[in-house]
């Protein structure tokens, strides 16, 4: 469930970006790593309280995400005009991923960074104990996701985001600034990943490449849930999270990370539109 919550924070952001911009953000995991490092900087170096640390991480990743559209995707889009982009965006964000990852390496060094738990203590449920940290991850993830869905459902800007995802031209005709929505969406997605990184930092260790395997896993989740489908992504996150936890009983744990990839390949072969996706002609 903890993994599921984390994946949900992560994959929903990725799905949101894909749904709105039609761009697969290969650099998504790097925002997770940035969040981890920011929470480390806030807690260990600046001695801020944990809540402030998480906020700093989320905000930092959000701001970084805001910069992605004006600096990278926007210029490419302008240059391409109406020509098909093909996989240029994929290659572009792959470049961003390499750049951020190695910049983190240059700034923070390659060593594993330990972050103290945000909250301590263990909750006893029957014979098993669950650390408060894990409960916190699930709770915050659930709250944030609920907030995101509420934002998209009721808030003016959120409605605009959904409108752009459905039909950019029509949305533009209604007076919605596409650029504004694109910038906002990337910021939101990155912010969610950053909070995820901050929350998980005490459980994982933080290192520059920490996010990349997550990105790949989030692709699998996105595909399982149906590309661009937020509810599907949420459901698929929980499924993969639980499946990974259960599968450890059957196979050695070092193969655990393979589960998502195998699921992804099978889904692509059997039901490419994903669990909740509509059949589209791609």
């Amino acid at each position: 469930m903890v993994l599921g919550g984390l994946y949900a924070l992560f994959a929903v952001g990725l799905t949101l970006i894909f749904g709105v911009l039609d761009v697969i953000n290969v650099a998504h995991g790097e925002f997770f790593a940035v969040g981890g490092y920011l929470v480390f900087a806030a807690l260990v170096l600046l001695h801020l309280p944990p809540a402030a640390g998480v906020a700093v991480a989320g905000l930092g990743a959000f701001l970084l995400g805001l910069a992605v559209y004006p600096l990278l995707i926007g210029p490419l889009k302008r240059r391409l005009g109406r020509r098909p982009a093909g996989s240029l965006y994929l290659v572009l964000t792959l470049g961003l991923s390499t750049f951020l990852q190695s910049s983190l390496l240059a700034v923070a060094g390659g060593e594993y960074v330990r972050v103290p738990p945000l909250v301590s203590g263990i909750l006893e449920i029957g014979s098993t104990g669950v650390s408060h940290q894990r409960l916190l991850v699930v709770t915050v993830a659930a709250l944030l996701l609920a907030g995101l869905f509420a934002f998209l459902r009721w808030h003016r800007e959120g409605l605009a985001v959904r409108a752009v995802a459905q039909n950019p031209e029509a949305a533009q005709a209604m007076g919605i600034s596409l650029t504004r929505i694109f910038v906002l969406t990337l910021g939101l997605g990155a912010g969610l990943a950053g909070v995820g990184g901050a929350l998980m930092a005490p459980l994982f260790n933080v290192y520059p490449a920490v996010g990349f395997p997550l990105t790949i896993k989030a692709f699998a989740i996105t595909i399982l849930g149906g590309m661009g489908n937020l509810v599907g992504a949420l459901l698929a996150s929980l499924i993969i999270g639980v499946a990974e936890s259960l599968v450890v009983m059957a196979i050695p744990s070092q193969w655990q990370n393979g589960v998502a990839f195998v699921v992804m390949i099978i889904v692509l072969l059997l039901r490419p539109q994903g669990l909740l996706g509509r059949a589209t002609s791609r």
């Binding site: 697969i24 990278l72 210029p75 490419l76 240059r79 093909g86 996989s87 240029l88 994929l90 290659v91 572009l92 792959l94 470049g95 961003l96 991923s97 390499t98 750049f99 951020l100 990852q101 190695s102 910049s103 390496l105 240059a106 390659g110 490449a209 990349f212 395997p213 790949i216 692709f219 699998a220 595909i223 590309m227 050695p252 070092q254 193969w255 990370n257 393979g258 990839f261 195998v262 992804m264 390949i265 692509l268 072969l269 490419p272 791609r282």
Partner: protein
């Protein structure tokens, strides 16, 4: 007329480059230089093989590190566990990678763009996981070593480095030549381009897209495997990190740098980017990947045709200048414009 002149100029430059590459062991007979050069040439093959599938045929692969690793592990494993000759190992590595490439290509026929990229990425991750966890065969995280090298090399350090370099250059040049031949001179090359531009249209014109896509997969992954085999026998160590996404990222960076869809562009890009990378090592090891990331981003946004694109652009520019001159000739009295063979690439009139 100017086009022909340009082409002969390009041929001249290519020939000069080829002579330098071939004579490098004599020009700089130092094991360190030769070692770097050998690695650069291996990367050139890998970048070209990626370009054949992704740049030329438009089937984007994010898993070339996987094919590379597969070739490397197969070649090294055959030599280590079965005691086969490295030559046979190279062949088997190539064949094995090509087979897996077709195996991936087959289901991936239904997928395009994003999906294909993601599947190949997942495949490379699976290969990396297998390499890391299949201890008895791959040696796990520490990798595989102690499997011999090319037989029949001279004993001295310098002579050995020279011979290895020439060997690798010969193999890579042959492989790149095969790819160029297939793409430029055969029907397959036309089919590849047609698939890249518009798959549905290509199919409606009677091109068997299934066969040609599989062919592209086989060629591309096979040559990636060959590069892997060369790498294994040259570096003498194969570890799971070669299958990591960073390798793919580097290869794509090289291809984008050199120019997508030209085969020779990525090879050139690989040589140059590798040189830049190694030079940056003196500044600090971590900065070379920062540079790769920056290169990818800058080139994708501003120069998607890479260095090769600069050449093409220049060609177009000369053509346009010819047209301009023709117009001027129509109006007598105008002084003839100087058309240097190397107009600035940053000429504001050149359009992307």
């Amino acid at each position: 007329m100017s086009g022909a002149r340009f082409r002969s100029l390009r041929r001249l430059v290519l020939c000069a480059g080829g002579v330098v590459v071939a004579l490098l062991p004599a020009l700089a007979p130092h094991p360190f230089v030769l070692s770097l050069a050998t690695q650069a040439v291996i990367w050139a093959l890998l970048a070209s093989s990626w370009d054949l599938l992704s740049g030329y045929t438009g089937q984007i692969s994010f898993g070339h590190a996987g094919f590379f690793a597969l070739g490397a592990y197969t070649a090294a494993g055959m030599a280590k566990h079965l005691g086969l000759s490295p030559w046979l190992g190279l062949l088997l590595g190539t064949g094995g990678a090509a087979l897996v490439g077709v195996g991936v290509g087959f289901p991936a026929l239904r997928l395009r763009g994003h999906y294909l990229a993601l599947v190949t990425l997942a495949l490379a991750e699976l290969i990396r996981l297998s390499a890391q966890n299949w201890l008895s065969v791959t040696g796990g995280p520490f990798g595989m070593y102690d499997f011999g090298t090319f037989p029949g090399l001279p004993a001295g350090a310098v002579a050995r480095a020279q011979a290895t370099y020439l060997l690798v250059v010969a193999v890579v040049a042959g492989a790149v030549a095969v790819m160029l031949y297939v793409c430029r001179r055969t029907r397959a090359g036309q089919a590849f381009r047609a698939i890249r531009e518009d798959e549905v249209l290509a199919e409606s014109l009677g091109i068997n897209t299934t066969v040609y896509k599989l062919l592209a997969f086989a060629l591309s992954s096979g040559f990636a495997g060959l590069a892997g085999g060369l790498y294994a026998f040259y570096i003498q160590l194969v570890s799971p990190t070669v299958a990591s996404a960073a390798t793919t990222s580097l290869v794509i960076g090289m291809a984008v740098f050199g120019g997508l869809g030209t085969i020779w562009g990525p090879a050139l890009g690989a040589l140059l980017l590798f040189a830049v990378n190694e030079a940056l090592r003196f500044v600090g090891v971590v900065y070379n990947l920062v540079a790769v990331g920056l290169t990818i981003m800058v080139f994708v946004i501003f120069l998607p045709r890479g260095l090769a694109g600069l050449a093409l652009r220049r060609q177009r520019l000369t053509v346009r200048r010819d047209a301009l001159r023709a117009e001027e000739d129509a109006e007598p009295g105008q002084p003839e414009q100087v058309t240097g063979a190397t107009p600035s690439a940053e000429d504001p009139r050149s359009t992307a």
